[in-house]
Symmetry: C2
């Protein structure tokens, strides 16, 4: 029922950077950052298959970037912004702002 969510203090910079280095995942994180509301998995990355999406969400979750929980048949996701900011101050901001520029 509960999934693997690494503790705030055990976040690994290499895992975080690797998780963010994939354009697909970076796009997901950017979407999560824009709308502060949790969102079901299915509403992301419409071009890829369900299993690939599951894989990307697991990478993000195991890196500690997102939190996930089930609600009915949906799985919700939320960016762990406070935790990431506490451990790596400024990182998410700089990555996301560069992403925002790229999307204009």
């Amino acid at each position: 029922m509960s999934f693997e969510h690494p503790d705030r203090n055990s976040l690994d910079i290499s895992a975080v950077l690797h998780a963010l280095s994939d354009p697909q995942r970076l796009g997901m994180v950017a979407e999560l950052a824009m709308s502060d509301e949790p969102r079901p998995c299915g509403s992301f990355a419409p071009g890829i298959s369900k299993s690939t999406r599951t894989h990307h969400f697991r990478v993000l979750r195991e890196a500690g970037l997102i939190e996930q929980w089930k609600e009915g048949t949906c799985k919700m996701s939320r960016l762990r912004r406070e935790d990431v900011d506490a451990r790596f101050p400024g990182l998410l901001d700089s990555v996301l702002s560069s992403q925002a520029v790229a999307q204009v």
Copy 2:
């Protein structure tokens, strides 16, 4: 003679994050950031082979993180801090400060 050094404006966030996501390369970048002096390649990452070192330096260079040039038989490396900061403000600082904490 001259190597591939991407233009400041063509730096790719995914390539940069991927380049930094390897612990070996992150260590090299951290060393380069600490001593502002250019350093020969051979003085890095003493545990790994020469060819692996060459490979890592190429990844860093092609991502636009470092600049390299030859001096005699040595090849010098320098962090392209201004360029990276201009393109991705705050990124290098946050990554390097987390790295510094980890090394204490």
